[in-house]
Symmetry: C2
Protein backbone atom coordinates (compact mmCIF):
# COMPACT_ATOMS: atom_id res chain seq x y z
CA UNK A 1 0.00 0.00 0.00
CA UNK A 2 1.44 3.38 -1.01
CA UNK A 3 1.55 6.36 1.33
CA UNK A 4 -1.24 7.92 -0.74
CA UNK A 5 -3.44 4.83 -0.35
CA UNK A 6 -2.84 4.77 3.39
CA UNK A 7 -3.82 8.44 3.66
CA UNK A 8 -7.03 7.86 1.69
CA UNK A 9 -7.89 4.89 3.87
CA UNK A 10 -7.33 6.89 7.07
CA UNK A 11 -9.42 9.77 5.77
CA UNK A 12 -12.30 7.38 4.90
CA UNK A 13 -12.08 5.76 8.35
CA UNK A 14 -12.26 9.20 9.97
CA UNK A 15 -15.31 10.15 7.90
CA UNK A 16 -17.12 6.91 8.86
CA UNK A 17 -16.23 7.33 12.52
CA UNK A 18 -17.41 10.96 12.48
CA UNK A 19 -20.71 9.91 10.87
CA UNK A 20 -21.26 7.38 13.66
CA UNK A 21 -20.45 9.98 16.33
CA UNK A 22 -22.72 12.63 14.76
CA UNK A 23 -25.53 10.10 14.56
CA UNK A 24 -25.04 8.94 18.15
CA UNK A 25 -24.52 12.28 19.92
CA UNK A 26 -25.43 14.99 17.39
CA UNK A 27 -22.94 17.43 15.88
CA UNK A 28 -22.81 19.64 18.96
CA UNK A 29 -21.75 16.91 21.40
CA UNK A 30 -19.51 14.83 19.11
CA UNK A 31 -15.85 15.15 20.07
CA UNK A 32 -12.72 14.99 17.94
CA UNK A 33 -11.11 12.54 20.37
CA UNK A 34 -14.04 10.10 20.01
CA UNK A 35 -13.86 10.48 16.22
CA UNK A 36 -10.13 9.73 16.03
CA UNK A 37 -10.29 6.84 18.47
CA UNK A 38 -13.34 5.41 16.63
CA UNK A 39 -11.23 5.41 13.46
CA UNK A 40 -8.34 3.75 15.30
CA UNK A 41 -5.97 6.68 14.67
CA UNK A 42 -4.23 9.29 16.80
CA UNK A 43 -5.59 12.84 17.28
CA UNK A 44 -2.54 13.99 15.28
CA UNK A 45 -3.62 11.88 12.32
CA UNK A 46 -7.07 13.47 12.48
CA UNK A 47 -5.57 16.95 12.47
CA UNK A 48 -3.42 16.05 9.46
CA UNK A 49 -6.66 15.56 7.49
CA UNK A 50 -9.12 17.97 9.13
CA UNK A 51 -8.64 21.35 10.77
CA UNK A 52 -11.59 21.04 13.15
CA UNK A 53 -14.98 19.39 13.75
CA UNK A 54 -16.69 21.62 11.17
CA UNK A 55 -14.24 20.40 8.50
CA UNK A 56 -15.02 16.76 9.33
CA UNK A 57 -18.76 17.50 9.14
CA UNK A 58 -18.30 19.12 5.70
CA UNK A 59 -16.47 16.00 4.53
CA UNK A 60 -19.32 13.77 5.77
CA UNK A 61 -21.87 15.95 3.93
CA UNK A 62 -19.77 15.98 0.73
CA UNK A 63 -19.31 12.23 0.80
CA UNK A 64 -23.04 11.62 1.38
CA UNK A 65 -23.92 13.99 -1.44
CA UNK A 66 -21.48 12.32 -3.85
CA UNK A 67 -22.86 8.85 -3.06
CA UNK A 68 -26.51 9.92 -3.40
CA UNK A 69 -25.90 11.81 -6.67
CA UNK A 70 -23.84 8.96 -8.15
CA UNK A 71 -26.58 6.44 -7.31
CA UNK A 72 -29.33 8.67 -8.72
CA UNK A 73 -27.31 9.02 -11.96
CA UNK A 74 -26.86 5.24 -12.28
CA UNK A 75 -30.59 4.66 -11.70
CA UNK A 76 -31.42 7.40 -14.22
CA UNK A 77 -29.19 5.66 -16.78
CA UNK A 78 -31.41 2.58 -16.52
CA UNK A 79 -34.70 4.41 -16.82
CA UNK A 80 -37.63 2.97 -18.75
CA UNK A 81 -40.07 5.81 -18.00
CA UNK A 82 -40.17 8.78 -15.65
CA UNK A 83 -42.67 7.43 -13.08
CA UNK A 84 -40.87 4.11 -12.74
CA UNK A 85 -37.60 6.00 -12.47
CA UNK A 86 -38.97 8.09 -9.63
CA UNK A 87 -39.98 4.96 -7.70
CA UNK A 88 -36.65 3.28 -8.53
CA UNK A 89 -34.66 6.31 -7.38
CA UNK A 90 -36.56 6.49 -4.10
CA UNK A 91 -35.85 2.79 -3.46
CA UNK A 92 -32.14 3.24 -4.18
CA UNK A 93 -31.80 6.35 -2.00
CA UNK A 94 -33.80 4.71 0.82
CA UNK A 95 -31.39 1.79 0.75
CA UNK A 96 -28.43 4.16 1.07
CA UNK A 97 -30.06 6.07 3.93
CA UNK A 98 -30.83 2.80 5.69
CA UNK A 99 -27.53 1.01 5.20
CA UNK A 100 -24.83 3.68 4.92
CA UNK A 101 -24.13 5.68 8.08
CA UNK A 102 -22.15 8.33 6.15
CA UNK A 103 -25.08 8.95 3.79
CA UNK A 104 -27.53 9.05 6.70
CA UNK A 105 -25.46 11.40 8.85
CA UNK A 106 -24.47 13.59 5.88
CA UNK A 107 -28.08 13.87 4.71
CA UNK A 108 -29.19 14.98 8.18
CA UNK A 109 -26.29 17.41 8.62
CA UNK A 110 -27.07 18.99 5.24
CA UNK A 111 -30.69 19.58 6.28
CA UNK A 112 -29.89 20.97 9.74
CA UNK A 113 -30.26 24.68 10.46
CA UNK A 114 -26.61 24.93 11.44
CA UNK A 115 -25.30 23.14 8.32
CA UNK A 116 -21.77 24.18 7.44
CA UNK A 117 -22.16 23.74 3.68
CA UNK A 118 -24.34 25.14 0.93
CA UNK A 119 -25.75 21.66 0.34
CA UNK A 120 -29.32 20.82 1.21
CA UNK A 121 -30.02 17.28 0.11
CA UNK A 122 -33.73 17.55 0.93
CA UNK A 123 -33.98 20.39 -1.59
CA UNK A 124 -32.04 18.38 -4.18
CA UNK A 125 -34.50 15.54 -3.79
CA UNK A 126 -37.36 17.99 -4.24
CA UNK A 127 -35.86 19.19 -7.57
CA UNK A 128 -35.43 15.59 -8.67
CA UNK A 129 -39.11 14.80 -7.95
CA UNK A 130 -40.26 17.91 -9.82
CA UNK A 131 -38.14 17.02 -12.87
CA UNK A 132 -39.34 13.41 -13.02
CA UNK A 133 -42.98 14.48 -12.73
CA UNK A 134 -42.54 17.04 -15.52
CA UNK A 135 -41.03 14.27 -17.66
CA UNK A 136 -43.90 11.94 -16.70
CA UNK A 137 -46.38 14.59 -17.87
CA UNK A 138 -44.47 14.95 -21.17
CA UNK A 139 -44.48 11.18 -21.57
CA UNK A 140 -48.29 11.10 -21.09
CA UNK A 141 -48.00 8.91 -17.99
CA UNK A 142 -50.07 10.97 -15.55
CA UNK A 143 -53.77 10.22 -15.11
CA UNK A 144 -56.23 12.88 -16.17
CA UNK A 145 -57.64 14.74 -13.19
CA UNK A 146 -54.74 14.02 -10.84
CA UNK A 147 -54.64 17.73 -10.07
CA UNK A 148 -51.87 20.20 -10.52
CA UNK A 149 -48.40 18.80 -11.09
CA UNK A 150 -46.98 21.08 -8.40
CA UNK A 151 -49.40 19.66 -5.80
CA UNK A 152 -48.41 16.12 -6.79
CA UNK A 153 -44.71 16.94 -6.50
CA UNK A 154 -45.23 18.46 -3.05
CA UNK A 155 -47.15 15.40 -1.88
CA UNK A 156 -44.46 12.97 -3.11
CA UNK A 157 -41.70 15.08 -1.53
CA UNK A 158 -43.61 15.28 1.76
CA UNK A 159 -44.32 11.52 1.84
CA UNK A 160 -40.74 10.46 1.04
CA UNK A 161 -39.13 12.99 3.37
CA UNK A 162 -41.63 11.79 5.98
CA UNK A 163 -40.29 8.23 5.63
CA UNK A 164 -36.78 9.53 6.38
CA UNK A 165 -38.01 11.47 9.42
CA UNK A 166 -40.01 8.50 10.75
CA UNK A 167 -37.04 6.21 10.20
CA UNK A 168 -35.26 8.04 13.02
CA UNK A 169 -37.68 6.29 15.45
CA UNK A 170 -37.99 3.02 13.62
CA UNK A 171 -35.90 2.07 10.61
CA UNK A 172 -38.66 -0.13 9.22
CA UNK A 173 -40.08 3.08 7.67
CA UNK A 174 -37.27 3.06 5.06
CA UNK A 175 -37.40 -0.70 4.41
CA UNK A 176 -38.07 -1.96 0.86
CA UNK A 177 -41.49 -3.12 2.11
CA UNK A 178 -42.37 0.36 3.37
CA UNK A 179 -41.17 2.19 0.24
CA UNK A 180 -43.05 -0.37 -1.88
CA UNK A 181 -46.20 0.21 0.19
CA UNK A 182 -45.91 3.95 -0.51
CA UNK A 183 -45.67 3.45 -4.29
CA UNK A 184 -48.38 0.76 -4.28
CA UNK A 185 -50.64 3.49 -2.88
CA UNK A 186 -49.31 6.41 -4.94
CA UNK A 187 -48.88 4.91 -8.42
CA UNK A 188 -52.57 4.04 -9.00
CA UNK A 189 -53.35 7.62 -7.93
CA UNK A 190 -50.78 9.19 -10.24
CA UNK A 191 -50.55 7.04 -13.34
CA UNK A 192 -52.76 6.87 -16.37
CA UNK A 193 -54.58 3.49 -16.20
CA UNK A 194 -52.93 2.51 -19.49
CA UNK A 195 -49.46 3.05 -18.01
CA UNK A 196 -50.16 1.47 -14.62
CA UNK A 197 -49.73 -2.17 -15.64
CA UNK A 198 -46.11 -1.55 -16.60
CA UNK A 199 -45.19 0.09 -13.30
CA UNK A 200 -43.58 -1.86 -10.48
CA UNK A 201 -43.98 -0.33 -6.96
CA UNK A 202 -41.17 -2.56 -5.64
CA UNK A 203 -38.70 -1.15 -8.20
CA UNK A 204 -37.99 -2.28 -11.76
CA UNK A 205 -35.91 -5.45 -12.28
CA UNK A 206 -33.15 -3.42 -13.99
CA UNK A 207 -32.59 -1.57 -10.73
CA UNK A 208 -33.58 -4.11 -8.07
CA UNK A 209 -30.15 -5.75 -8.19
CA UNK A 210 -28.57 -2.35 -7.77
CA UNK A 211 -30.85 -1.57 -4.85
CA UNK A 212 -29.92 -4.72 -2.98
CA UNK A 213 -26.22 -4.80 -3.84
CA UNK A 214 -23.49 -2.41 -2.73
CA UNK A 215 -23.05 0.63 -4.97
CA UNK A 216 -19.74 2.35 -5.51
CA UNK B 1 -52.12 38.77 41.55
CA UNK B 2 -51.76 36.02 44.18
CA UNK B 3 -48.48 34.30 44.94
CA UNK B 4 -49.86 31.21 43.19
CA UNK B 5 -50.70 33.19 40.05
CA UNK B 6 -47.23 34.75 39.99
CA UNK B 7 -45.63 31.31 40.31
CA UNK B 8 -47.75 29.94 37.43
CA UNK B 9 -46.83 32.92 35.29
CA UNK B 10 -43.11 32.51 36.00
CA UNK B 11 -43.26 28.80 35.23
CA UNK B 12 -45.02 29.49 31.90
CA UNK B 13 -42.43 32.14 31.01
CA UNK B 14 -39.62 29.66 31.76
CA UNK B 15 -41.25 27.00 29.57
CA UNK B 16 -41.60 29.44 26.66
CA UNK B 17 -38.03 30.66 27.05
CA UNK B 18 -36.74 27.08 27.20
CA UNK B 19 -38.67 26.21 24.02
CA UNK B 20 -37.05 29.15 22.21
CA UNK B 21 -33.59 28.12 23.45
CA UNK B 22 -34.09 24.44 22.48
CA UNK B 23 -35.27 25.51 19.04
CA UNK B 24 -32.36 27.92 18.56
CA UNK B 25 -29.47 25.85 19.90
CA UNK B 26 -30.81 22.30 20.36
CA UNK B 27 -31.26 20.61 23.72
CA UNK B 28 -27.55 19.80 24.13
CA UNK B 29 -26.32 23.39 23.80
CA UNK B 30 -29.18 25.22 25.53
CA UNK B 31 -28.11 26.64 28.89
CA UNK B 32 -30.09 27.22 32.08
CA UNK B 33 -28.72 30.76 32.34
CA UNK B 34 -30.02 31.65 28.86
CA UNK B 35 -33.39 30.09 29.75
CA UNK B 36 -33.77 32.07 32.98
CA UNK B 37 -32.61 35.35 31.45
CA UNK B 38 -34.89 34.79 28.43
CA UNK B 39 -37.79 34.50 30.87
CA UNK B 40 -36.67 37.63 32.71
CA UNK B 41 -36.12 35.79 36.00
CA UNK B 42 -33.14 34.91 38.17
CA UNK B 43 -31.36 31.53 38.04
CA UNK B 44 -32.72 30.97 41.58
CA UNK B 45 -36.30 31.38 40.33
CA UNK B 46 -35.61 28.78 37.63
CA UNK B 47 -34.27 26.34 40.22
CA UNK B 48 -37.37 26.88 42.36
CA UNK B 49 -39.45 25.44 39.48
CA UNK B 50 -37.05 23.00 37.77
CA UNK B 51 -34.28 20.83 39.14
CA UNK B 52 -32.24 20.80 35.90
CA UNK B 53 -32.36 21.16 32.11
CA UNK B 54 -33.95 17.72 31.68
CA UNK B 55 -36.82 18.77 33.94
CA UNK B 56 -37.44 21.91 31.86
CA UNK B 57 -37.40 19.81 28.68
CA UNK B 58 -39.97 17.41 30.19
CA UNK B 59 -42.19 20.38 31.01
CA UNK B 60 -41.93 21.66 27.41
CA UNK B 61 -42.88 18.21 26.07
CA UNK B 62 -45.78 17.86 28.53
CA UNK B 63 -47.11 21.31 27.66
CA UNK B 64 -46.88 20.63 23.90
CA UNK B 65 -48.62 17.31 24.34
CA UNK B 66 -51.43 18.82 26.41
CA UNK B 67 -52.02 21.57 23.83
CA UNK B 68 -51.99 19.17 20.85
CA UNK B 69 -54.31 16.66 22.56
CA UNK B 70 -56.72 19.37 23.74
CA UNK B 71 -56.93 20.80 20.22
CA UNK B 72 -57.44 17.37 18.64
CA UNK B 73 -60.27 16.73 21.12
CA UNK B 74 -61.98 20.05 20.31
CA UNK B 75 -61.72 19.35 16.57
CA UNK B 76 -63.05 15.82 17.11
CA UNK B 77 -66.03 17.29 19.01
CA UNK B 78 -66.99 19.21 15.86
CA UNK B 79 -66.66 16.29 13.45
CA UNK B 80 -69.04 15.78 10.55
CA UNK B 81 -67.32 12.69 9.14
CA UNK B 82 -64.04 10.88 9.68
CA UNK B 83 -62.20 11.99 6.51
CA UNK B 84 -63.08 15.65 6.99
CA UNK B 85 -62.09 15.32 10.63
CA UNK B 86 -58.68 13.98 9.63
CA UNK B 87 -58.08 16.96 7.33
CA UNK B 88 -59.41 19.37 9.97
CA UNK B 89 -57.19 17.89 12.68
CA UNK B 90 -54.10 18.15 10.47
CA UNK B 91 -54.88 21.82 9.78
CA UNK B 92 -55.32 22.57 13.48
CA UNK B 93 -52.12 20.76 14.51
CA UNK B 94 -50.16 22.38 11.67
CA UNK B 95 -51.26 25.78 12.93
CA UNK B 96 -50.04 24.96 16.42
CA UNK B 97 -46.70 23.66 15.12
CA UNK B 98 -46.31 26.79 13.02
CA UNK B 99 -47.35 29.41 15.55
CA UNK B 100 -46.58 28.02 19.02
CA UNK B 101 -42.91 27.64 19.85
CA UNK B 102 -43.66 25.42 22.89
CA UNK B 103 -45.67 23.00 20.74
CA UNK B 104 -42.97 22.97 18.06
CA UNK B 105 -40.06 22.46 20.44
CA UNK B 106 -41.98 19.92 22.55
CA UNK B 107 -43.02 17.93 19.49
CA UNK B 108 -39.42 17.75 18.30
CA UNK B 109 -38.05 16.89 21.74
CA UNK B 110 -40.60 14.08 22.07
CA UNK B 111 -39.47 12.58 18.74
CA UNK B 112 -35.74 12.84 19.42
CA UNK B 113 -33.69 9.75 20.21
CA UNK B 114 -32.64 11.23 23.55
CA UNK B 115 -36.16 12.20 24.63
CA UNK B 116 -36.52 12.32 28.41
CA UNK B 117 -40.18 11.27 28.48
CA UNK B 118 -42.28 8.31 27.37
CA UNK B 119 -44.13 10.59 24.97
CA UNK B 120 -43.71 10.27 21.23
CA UNK B 121 -46.06 12.69 19.54
CA UNK B 122 -45.26 11.34 16.07
CA UNK B 123 -46.54 7.95 17.19
CA UNK B 124 -49.66 9.51 18.72
CA UNK B 125 -50.41 11.19 15.40
CA UNK B 126 -49.97 7.85 13.65
CA UNK B 127 -52.57 6.25 15.96
CA UNK B 128 -54.93 9.15 15.32
CA UNK B 129 -54.62 8.70 11.51
CA UNK B 130 -55.22 4.96 11.80
CA UNK B 131 -58.33 5.48 13.94
CA UNK B 132 -59.84 8.10 11.63
CA UNK B 133 -59.26 5.91 8.56
CA UNK B 134 -60.87 2.93 10.27
CA UNK B 135 -63.85 5.15 11.07
CA UNK B 136 -63.89 6.42 7.46
CA UNK B 137 -64.04 2.81 6.25
CA UNK B 138 -66.93 2.09 8.66
CA UNK B 139 -68.72 5.21 7.43
CA UNK B 140 -68.36 4.02 3.79
CA UNK B 141 -66.30 7.06 2.83
CA UNK B 142 -63.30 5.34 1.24
CA UNK B 143 -63.23 4.77 -2.51
CA UNK B 144 -63.27 1.18 -3.70
CA UNK B 145 -59.86 0.05 -4.86
CA UNK B 146 -57.88 2.57 -2.77
CA UNK B 147 -55.79 -0.32 -1.54
CA UNK B 148 -55.24 -1.59 1.93
CA UNK B 149 -56.20 0.73 4.75
CA UNK B 150 -52.85 0.20 6.42
CA UNK B 151 -51.00 1.41 3.29
CA UNK B 152 -53.22 4.51 3.17
CA UNK B 153 -52.57 5.27 6.83
CA UNK B 154 -48.82 4.94 6.32
CA UNK B 155 -48.91 7.28 3.32
CA UNK B 156 -50.91 9.94 5.18
CA UNK B 157 -48.62 9.70 8.22
CA UNK B 158 -45.52 9.94 6.01
CA UNK B 159 -46.86 12.93 4.05
CA UNK B 160 -47.94 14.90 7.13
CA UNK B 161 -44.80 14.12 9.14
CA UNK B 162 -42.87 15.12 5.99
CA UNK B 163 -44.50 18.56 6.09
CA UNK B 164 -43.27 19.01 9.67
CA UNK B 165 -39.73 17.92 8.72
CA UNK B 166 -39.64 20.18 5.64
CA UNK B 167 -40.95 23.08 7.70
CA UNK B 168 -37.62 23.11 9.54
CA UNK B 169 -36.07 24.55 6.33
CA UNK B 170 -39.00 26.64 5.21
CA UNK B 171 -42.09 27.21 7.30
CA UNK B 172 -44.26 27.62 4.20
CA UNK B 173 -44.52 23.79 4.22
CA UNK B 174 -46.90 23.96 7.23
CA UNK B 175 -48.91 26.94 5.92
CA UNK B 176 -52.69 26.56 5.43
CA UNK B 177 -52.02 26.70 1.66
CA UNK B 178 -49.57 23.81 1.83
CA UNK B 179 -51.76 21.61 4.06
CA UNK B 180 -54.72 22.40 1.77
CA UNK B 181 -52.63 21.42 -1.27
CA UNK B 182 -51.89 18.07 0.36
CA UNK B 183 -55.56 17.30 1.01
CA UNK B 184 -56.60 18.61 -2.43
CA UNK B 185 -54.35 15.89 -3.81
CA UNK B 186 -55.15 13.18 -1.26
CA UNK B 187 -58.92 13.44 -0.83
CA UNK B 188 -59.85 12.61 -4.46
CA UNK B 189 -57.55 9.60 -4.14
CA UNK B 190 -59.05 8.43 -0.84
CA UNK B 191 -62.71 9.31 -0.89
CA UNK B 192 -65.63 7.59 -2.54
CA UNK B 193 -66.77 9.88 -5.39
CA UNK B 194 -70.17 10.24 -3.69
CA UNK B 195 -68.53 11.57 -0.52
CA UNK B 196 -65.98 13.82 -2.23
CA UNK B 197 -68.29 16.78 -2.90
CA UNK B 198 -68.89 17.27 0.80
CA UNK B 199 -65.19 17.32 1.71
CA UNK B 200 -63.26 20.56 2.10
CA UNK B 201 -59.45 20.30 1.71
CA UNK B 202 -59.00 23.71 3.36
CA UNK B 203 -60.80 22.54 6.51
CA UNK B 204 -64.51 22.58 7.35
CA UNK B 205 -66.15 25.91 8.29
CA UNK B 206 -66.92 24.58 11.80
CA UNK B 207 -63.19 24.31 12.44
CA UNK B 208 -61.70 27.05 10.25
CA UNK B 209 -62.35 29.70 12.89
CA UNK B 210 -60.67 27.49 15.44
CA UNK B 211 -57.71 26.96 13.15
CA UNK B 212 -57.13 30.66 12.65
CA UNK B 213 -57.90 31.83 16.18
CA UNK B 214 -55.92 31.15 19.35
CA UNK B 215 -56.85 27.94 21.12
CA UNK B 216 -56.64 27.46 24.86
Amino acid sequence: MTKQERATRTRDALISSAAREFERHGYALATLSAISSGAGVSPGALHFHFENKAAVACAVEDEACATLRRTARIVYGRRSNALQNLADTSHALARLLRDDVVVRAGFRLSCADDSRTELNLRQEWQSCVQQRLAEAADEGLLAAGTGRQQDLARMIVAATIGLEALCRDNDEWLSPRSVTSLWRTLLPMLADPGALDGLEPAGSPAVTGLVHAPVG
